[in-house]
Amino acid sequence: MNIDFAPELEDFRAQVAEFFATAPTPAIREAGRKTTSVFAPFKECMEWHRILYDKGWVAPHWPEEYGGTGWSVEQRFIFAEEYRKADLPPLLPQSLGMVGPLLIDIGTEEQKAKYLEPILKGEDFWAQGYSEPNSGSDLASLSCRAEPDGDDYIINGSKIWTTYAHHANRMFMLVRTSNEGKKQQGITFLLLDRVDYPGMEIRPIVGLDGFPEQCEVFFEDCRVPQSGRVGEENDGWSVAKHLLKHERGGGNAASPTLMRYCERARAAAAETLSPFGGKLSEDPVFQRDIGELEADIASLAHFEKLAISGHEIARDPAFPSMNKTINSELVQRASTLMAQVSGVDGLARQLEALRVGSNVEPLGSEFDLISMPLYLNSRATTIYAGSNEVQRDLIARTVAGS
């Protein structure tokens, strides 16, 4: 056994850190610090996307021939670590993390030629249209219908919780093309190359933190080309399952973000009065709370490192579900601790001050500004990408079967 990264990797780390210290604009840095969700502020996030593209670093996890970096898993982990340490806005997952890898794996040559380059360049942003008002956890029950008509499909129905659809120019979606047989067997996977088709309407939904992040998408006799289909008609479920591997898969290094939250909480606690006198950072109960959290984050980091080393832990069929469960609950705990450190200063609703480029002074510190929205937004981590109840069922099945 050996825990060290190869020595030449330290040069790599230095090179990455240097770039992160110099390349982002002040607005991008501000957007990174003010990211209170897994989805960073759109405009600055895409500006940063383009800077990374120019550097050739936008898609480290893509195969080199498609614009990836050709880095080892260790290099990718180091990159992720430095990225988080620098508090930069995370890139949006739908295009780079979902539809891109899917097309690389199973798209047609035309689809690859048309879509991959604009994803890399950040010219396109894709929304993920899976969920429907009546189909959440039971996604296969979806009913948004696509009827073949000549070379087109005519879509009727609606989608919901479509993150950033109001910023998107393209969308991938699941539609029902048949009611025969099992419900999974009548689903088709479609790429829409625009989101302004006649009969298509996008309405943002304001979240509990006060920001529009998700959307509803309505289709009324909306005509889209069949050439956007990925895989066969009625075989969309297996396409979606394939994509899910990218959505829930490991190797995305959540622990550095969580450690950053703890560092920020520690720094804020050193400036915050304890209700028992002195500074909060000196308070033994705070120390125990953050200690417990950091120990759990350390275990996640160990789990992630074992996984990238190719350890059998990552081949456990429960790995993606365990990763998702541990990670999502730690995000909630870390943001709970942050909100606790802010205390009453987190109770002000400060939507305007949170906007990147705002000239409204926050009431407390920048930490106080972000802690409550982050706590509120993180309530979603145990709901999306397969709720934690559903994940625990999946994990339980692997326990019962062992």
């Binding site: 956890s137 209700p275 028992f276 200063d345 987190g346 407390g364 409550m372 109840e389």
Partner: protein, 363 residues
Amino acid sequence: MDFSFTEEQEMLRDGVGKYLEKNYDFETRQALVRSEEPWSQKAWQQFAEFGLLALPFAEEQGGLGGSISDCVAVAELFGKHLVIEPYAASIMLAGAALAASDDGPAQDWLEKVIAGEAIAAFAYEEGAGTAAPDMVAMIAEPVGDAFTLTGEKRLVVAGGEADCLIVVARRGEDGPLGVFLVEKTAQRMEARSYTTIDGRSAANIRFDATPATLLDGAEAALDRILAHAIIVQSAEAVGAMGALLALTSDYAMTRKQFGVPIGTFQAVAHRLADMKIAYTKARATLLYTTAMAESGAVKPRDIAILKGQVGKLGKAVGEAAIQTHGGVGMTDELSVSHYHKRLLACDAMFGSHDYHLRVVGQG
């Protein structure tokens, strides 16, 4: 022993409850929160007509001589309807401080507050979750017969609108606490108003040698005033918890996934059971503590138990309600997230559950 509300209390609840059902439904409340108004003047006047503004004060002061359990009976409904009017702040805290002082100006202000003609606000918090009065650090400098205040008070509910402020500060370094009156028109005071996450109007207020009058006698009543306000605020939180339990169980029994109501999945059913247990525990502690306060037997530790339990259990209930609702629980449109934010705010004010449970632990 009897921990039920009396017939008169039930009648009062009935009247206030009907008014709120009719005039304070969630949509109306949301429109109010989004408007320029800090709260509804109409509702406040209606509360005055119900006698709620006079409820806790002695008859000889123009009050109704109501008890803490009268206030609790009403405050549960305030929580159920997410009322944003500053009842705890203006009546239970600032009003009670005015009532505790025999000074002329205090009595004049109290009269106006009871009539709904003036709003008083209570400036206490200094940013550390200042739950215990002995942690108040702000200093009042004596200047002749009067005092001046310097420093900042935070999260002063209704502070931006108040006609008078009741400020708790120390009479000189290491000196005893004093309760001070500052009029809206006072010089050298700057308020920055904002809306809290749960829709209330609040302000951070900076004092810079601001002239203030000591309210004789109010200091001695401070512990009781805070205790009663904590009880009333806890009643609001318990009301919100009850509403969340009802909403969430309804939702779980109607929302279907995989062809069945989600409430039939054991993971969801057990969470509902835990929510019910949490609500029941919190309400039991609320009612018992109220009865103790009414009989004069309540001790600081009992108040800490109440605040700690309600804060902790309320947060758990709110989080469980959002999780059970899934995506819709994350929206601004549904009341669920707003109940949770009310519970978070109730927890953070006057010391979070972390603080109070540690006070309990200190014995």
